[in-house]
């Protein structure tokens, strides 16, 4: 594992105690005592950028504190390989993609090279997303339990791509998805584990008003108008253009400003094109700010979310959409599309408002901007909902339960 990553996240388990309570931490320790010394090797495609890297960077050190011998490795690949895996990603989300024989060969050859080069030494191999999926070919020689963690919305995957990946998926002992809608007919066990946010991270920690203000000043956002914010990578699947359209419908009646902020990931070469399209759509509108922010701008994201009047997540497809939980944790009212894992976080009219179209998004936004008390009530419920279900402590608990349950056929396991 990259030491720089480990050093960045120094939170101790006990630091979470004031937020979730001592009993939750004690429960984690009980589970940890049943996994002491077990080696768990996580493998994905990048150490930085995107939700998976962010989760692993925090989870691995905390698992270690609980006694689990957790490690994290990444596969290697060139631009061609990541172009193919990006197409995989889009196709799994249901987007139309064309694959040539060369595409599949690039994927297979790079994967085989990774299979040869990667040191595998663990009791449990936890493989994240399609990029390293072919590592399972080494299952026979390495032994151990193999789990494939799919962070992608595969509710309506491209059949050809799914068929190709399925050959490898069935080689695993278990799979993990983020929402019930993503489950497939598979001969291996499928568990559901939602991702989580870290309340102590720079992206979610408490901030003073002056800290928030300094970020707003930095981006020239101090005009006092209600602020609608969408934080996500510049990706067609996040529908930033749809957000601008909904915003313009609302602004006819309510004076407000829109901020579209997001970064790029090393395994996402498409984002530059999307950013150009968004800029073109926004034109010279002074109330629309497009902020391409570099990876690691966590405090800026935190400040933007905290300064927001309403947070948007108008994804067309979504693995889980952790930015929703981030906004809810800050007590913000949220408007989001009912896709992927979003309905788990936003229960319509209880923890936020769900929509299914640009018009629906505009209508929901109007509701919230014109009724601040209702918006505040949704925000309060949202924070409680995240506290119960989407904090990192719950995530660690479920990871450890998974490691305990992975090769146990029973529906009830007594420890």
């Amino acid at each position: 594992m990259d030491n720089a990553i480990i050093n960045r996240y120094k939170n101790r388990l006990e630091d979470y105690q004031p937020i979730v309570g001592k009993n939750i931490i004690d429960e984690l320790k009980i589970l940890g005592s049943h996994l002491t010394g077990r080696k768990v090797q996580n493998v994905n495609s990048t150490f930085s950028g995107g939700g998976v890297a962010e989760i692993l960077a925090r989870m691995v050190p905390l698992l270690k504190q609980l006694g689990v011998d957790a490690s994290w490795d990444v596969i290697e690949g060139d631009e061609e390989f990541f172009n193919v895996t990006k197409k995989f990603h889009n196709a799994l989300h249901g987007q139309e993609e064309t694959f040539t024989k060369d595409d599949l060969n690039i994927f297979i050859e790079t994967s085989r090279r990774n299979n040869e080069n990667m040191a595998l030494d663990a009791d449990i191999f936890y493989i994240h997303d399609p990029q390293p999926i072919m590592l399972v070919e080494r299952k026979k020689s390495s032994g151990g339990d193999w789990i494939w963690r799919c962070h992608v919305d595969v509710s309506h995957p491209d059949k050809e791509v799914w068929k190709f990946l399925r050959k490898y998926i069935v080689g695993y002992d278990a799979t993990v998805f983020s929402a019930p809608e993503f489950s497939q007919q598979l001969p291996v066990k499928q568990y559901m584990i939602s991702p989580s946010i870290d309340p102590l991270s720079d992206k979610n920690r408490e901030m003073s008003q002056s800290e928030i203000q300094s970020v707003l000043n930095k981006y020239g956002l101090g005009n006092g108008k209600p602020m609608v914010v969408q934080i996500s990578r510049f990706d067609y699947l996040k529908d930033p253009v749809g957000v601008i359209q909904a915003f313009r419908m609302v602004r006819k009646g309510i004076d407000c400003q829109l901020v579209l902020a997001g970064g790029t990931a090393t395994d996402d070469p498409e984002s530059t094109r999307v950013l150009e399209d968004v800029r073109e759509c926004a034109g010279n509108d002074p109330d629309i700010k497009i902020l391409p922010i570099p990876p690691g701008s966590d405090l800026e994201i935190n400040a933007l979310q905290r300064a927001a009047t309403v947070v948007f997540q108008k994804s067309l497809k979504e693995g889980f959409g952790l930015t929703i939980s981030e906004a809810l944790w800050k007590g913000k009212p949220v408007v989001a599309t009912a896709v992927g894992g979003i309905p788990q976080q936003v229960r319509n009219k209880v923890t936020g408002l769900l929509c299914h179209s640009v018009e629906g998004a505009a209508w929901a936004l109007k509701q919230l901007l014109s009724n601040p008390e209702y918006a505040a009530w949704l925000g309060k419920n949202g924070r409680e909902h995240v506290k119960q279900n989407f904090l990192i402590t719950r995530h660690i608990k479920e990871y450890m339960l998974l490691f305990i349950a992975v090769n146990n056929p029973s529906d009830t396991i007594n420890l």
Binding site: D26, I404, T412
Partner: protein
């Protein structure tokens, strides 16, 4: 010699007479003084009467002898140099006897005072050593001063040594005196159940000269320095209540959601899949909202009712399904049959199939339970309440919800233990009568605690 005596008999007889006179006065004064002292101390009922009288009676007469010697020597014809030396020796003996008496008297009185407190034997021993040392040092300084020795450097040295000792052992000293305060004020006693400011609670197992030891229900030993304890806000519940023959061991129930890949797009498919579904699927769809939306009151209805209402847009059937009272069923099989029965009856009365949109299918999820013992045990109702405040909602869930299905009767693990261990049928019944499906888990926890606290007050 006889000749010398005949010439100087007055020089011998006068001092001797003075000495004998002091002896007689001493005997008389001791008799008068101690008779009155004894009478008045007896009237006051002071416990140290006997020690005071017995310890000082001998020295009192001894001091008259010394006084007699002193005056006799003063009136004698002994050369001045010798006379001064003898007087100095007499005065020194007097100082030593005073110091000796103060040591003996203070030790004996302290012993009487401390004998009331069993737990301070060790600190008392240290205090006596300190007192004895102090008196000896003071007596020595007075003697040296009396004999004309320079004292300033010595006093300085002693002061420095004392300062170092006090600084090095200030915490210990503070703890020792706090120990006296705890014992004297009977703030806590061994066997008391106390709760300290940090929220930890348990039985006091030892009160030492520096620490109080508390054993918590999760088998953790907390050592609290006496000085900290006297500054803390503590709640002392007093001595233990009736102990159960078998302590209650708290477990926790954690779960993983397992996706089945099964999904329904209409009511017929929903019923057909449900018919073949194992209990773990029924359990998930009728209970998971209790944990996931535990902050909401009233909580959402079961998943079947929600889906029929939202996805199939059928509010009537949704209401019928929501109205099925999960609390009435002690087995998942009977709950499943009730759900199926309502849906089938509705389909008979309302033929025709309504499909949902492609993205709004009902996805069947099942639960994998992982049951783990916690470190918490309760052997009486006081401990039970304190543990109940601390356990996770998962633990509460296991002992209240799952127990009903596990035991297949309308009882929680809590009420079974309370009834069997303490013969508290009324309390057990009240706990059983709480409807856990109409309140939040935190609300349920609070209600159970209130019921038990009311009983043990």
């Amino acid at each position: 010699m006889i000749e010398w005596f005949q010439q100087n008999w007055l020089l011998v007889v006068v001092p001797l007479a003075i000495f004998l006179a002091f002896c007689v006065i001493g005997l008389w004064a001791r008799r008068v003084l101690y008779t009155n002292l004894n009478r008045s101390l007896t009237r006051s009922g002071w416990g140290g009467r006997e020690v005071l009288i017995q310890t000082t009676r001998g020295p009192f007469f001894f001091w008259f002898i010394l006084l007699g010697l002193y005056v006799a020597i003063a009136f004698s014809s002994i050369p001045e140099d010798t006379k001064t030396l003898i007087i100095k020796i007499i005065a020194s003996i007097f100082i030593i006897s005073i110091v000796w008496l103060l040591i003996i008297l203070s030790e004996r009185l302290l012993s009487i005072y401390l004998s009331e407190f069993e737990n301070v034997k060790r600190p008392a021993k240290y205090i006596m050593i300190a007192l004895r040392s102090t008196l000896i040092v003071v007596g020595l300084l007075i003697l040296l001063d009396y004999w004309g020795w320079p004292l300033t450097p010595l006093i300085l040295l002693i002061a420095i040594i004392m300062l170092v000792i006090i600084l090095a052992s200030r915490d210990a000293i503070l703890n020792i005196f706090s120990g006296f305060e705890i014992t004297a004020s009977r703030l806590v006693k061994e066997g008391d159940f106390i709760k300290i400011g940090s929220g930890d609670a348990g039985y006091v197992t030892d009160i030492g000269w520096r620490n109080v030891v508390v054993r918590t229900p999760d088998q953790i030993t907390i050592v609290i320095p006496n000085s900290k304890l006297v500054r803390e806000t503590i709640v002392n519940y007093g001595h233990p209540l009736k102990k159960a023959a078998e302590p209650f061991h708290f477990y926790t129930r954690l779960h993983l959601k397992e996706l089945t890949g099964l999904k329904a797009t209409n009511l017929i498919a929903l019923v057909n899949i449900l018919k073949a579904a194992p209990d773990s699927i029924v359990y998930y769809h009728t209970h998971h909202f209790l944990e996931e939306y535990q902050y909401l009151n009233p909580e959402p209805a079961n998943d079947f009712a929600l889906w029929v209402g939202d996805a199939l847009d059928n509010p009537i059937l949704s209401e019928k399904l929501a109205n099925i009272d999960t609390f009435e069923f002690t087995s998942l099989a009977s709950l499943k049959n009730a759900l199926i029965s309502v849906m089938e009856q509705y389909m008979i009365e309302n033929p025709g199939i309504r499909f949902t949109q492609a993205e709004r299918e009902f996805h069947f999820v099942k639960v994998v339970n992982i049951i783990a013992p916690t470190n918490y045990y309760a052997s009486d109702l006081r401990e039970f309440v304190e543990v109940l405040r601390k356990v996770t909602l998962d633990s509460l869930y296991y002992h209240v919800f799952e127990s009903r299905l596990r035991l297949q009767r309308r009882s929680s693990d809590f009420s079974v233990w309370i009834r069997d261990s303490f013969d508290e049928s009324d309390l057990a019944e009240k706990i059983d009568n709480l409807v856990p499906y109409t309140t939040t888990l935190e609300g349920l926890r609070s209600e159970i605690i209130q019921l038990i606290e009311k009983r043990i007050k």
